[in-house]
Amino acid sequence: MKALALRSHVLVWLALMALLALSAGSSLLPLGVFNLVSNLAIGIAKAALVLYFFMRIGKSRPIVRIAAAAGIVWLALLCGLALSDVLFRTAGS
């Protein structure tokens, strides 16, 4: 069983479950805008755990990491540009 690295995998899973409990629990509290912020931060933390420990992105070759990052960077770019239009549009208002 040692070769399965059961212990480290279960620890990551426990961390994911704790984060899930935290996001579910915190959403029941009236924190205003911090409900949104904490939900997003916890989501990013959970995704990072899955990416790093389950998908082992840290052990991948640089070209693979570039390919993975390209999706997120490109998405951020497109969303950022689109948001800059929507949020700051003044013409016609």
Binding site: A24, N35, L51, F54, M55, A68, L87
Partner: protein, 218 residues
């Protein structure tokens, strides 16, 4: 050997200079595919963001109608399936056939459980007239924006469910081939690739969950 078969064999052997190169190409190909999937799902999340910025009150009102308990349990089910999948990849890498099949089976079962729970949610929403269309009922003042929320709800969770169903089918085939024919017929790397896809689908849900289930719960 026919000339066609010979040409095929030559092409197959010529595509990669060695096993390592084949592995690396496989890995990169999968990640490039996942990158396109990131953009694909990203558009849906961005559409959600736009609509929520435009109609914050209606999204809060509509968001309270999704099932908090079932959504949260389903997140736990999916995160656990990712644990089983990660262990299955390890088991395949060290060529433990029985463990690999067992853990792939666990992943698959949890995936099916997720879809069943989702089915119950859809049924409840159908009965509450929350499915967009002529039968959609909601507080008149917020009806249109709430309908938009449920459009996004069904499209996002629906496309996610389709991805999960594909993952279940792929894992089923791989588990059967590993079980009956061993790693000579089904390489450990194919388990690893299925794992990457499964974890990706899990990550998509990690972000769907707060967007659709955790709005205005306090």
């Amino acid at each position: 050997m026919s000339s066609a078969a010979r040409a095929e064999a030559a092409r197959a052997s010529g595509a990669f200079s060695d096993r390592d190169q084949e592995r690396e190409a496989c890995d990169l190909g999968m990640w490039v595919f996942l990158t396109t999937e990131t953009l694909f799902f990203g558009v849906l999340f961005f559409g959600y963001l736009m609509a929520r910025l435009r109609f914050p009150e209606a999204f809060a009102a509509a968001g309270r109608h999704t099932d908090f308990a079932l959504g949260t349990s389903n997140t736990a089910v999916l995160l656990t399936s990712s644990l089983a999948m990660a262990l299955a990849v390890r088991a395949a890498a060290i060529r433990r056939r029985r463990w690999a099949v067992l853990l792939l089976g666990a992943t698959l079962t949890l995936g099916v459980a997720f879809l069943v729970i989702k089915g119950f949610e859809y049924r409840a929403e159908y009965l509450q007239h929350l499915v967009p269309g002529a039968g959609f009922h909601f507080d008149a003042a917020q009806r249109d924006a709430a309908e938009l929320f449920f459009w996004l709800y069904f499209v996002m969770t629906g496309i996610h469910a389709v991805h999960l169903a594909i993952g279940i089918a792929v894992i089923g085939v791989i588990a059967a081939r590993v079980g009956f024919r061993g790693f000579a017929a089904q390489s450990p790397q194919s388990v690893e690739m299925a794992g990457l896809y499964w974890h990706f689908v899990d990550i998509v849900w990690i972000f769907i969950y707060p967007c659709l289930y955790l709005i205005a719960r306090s």
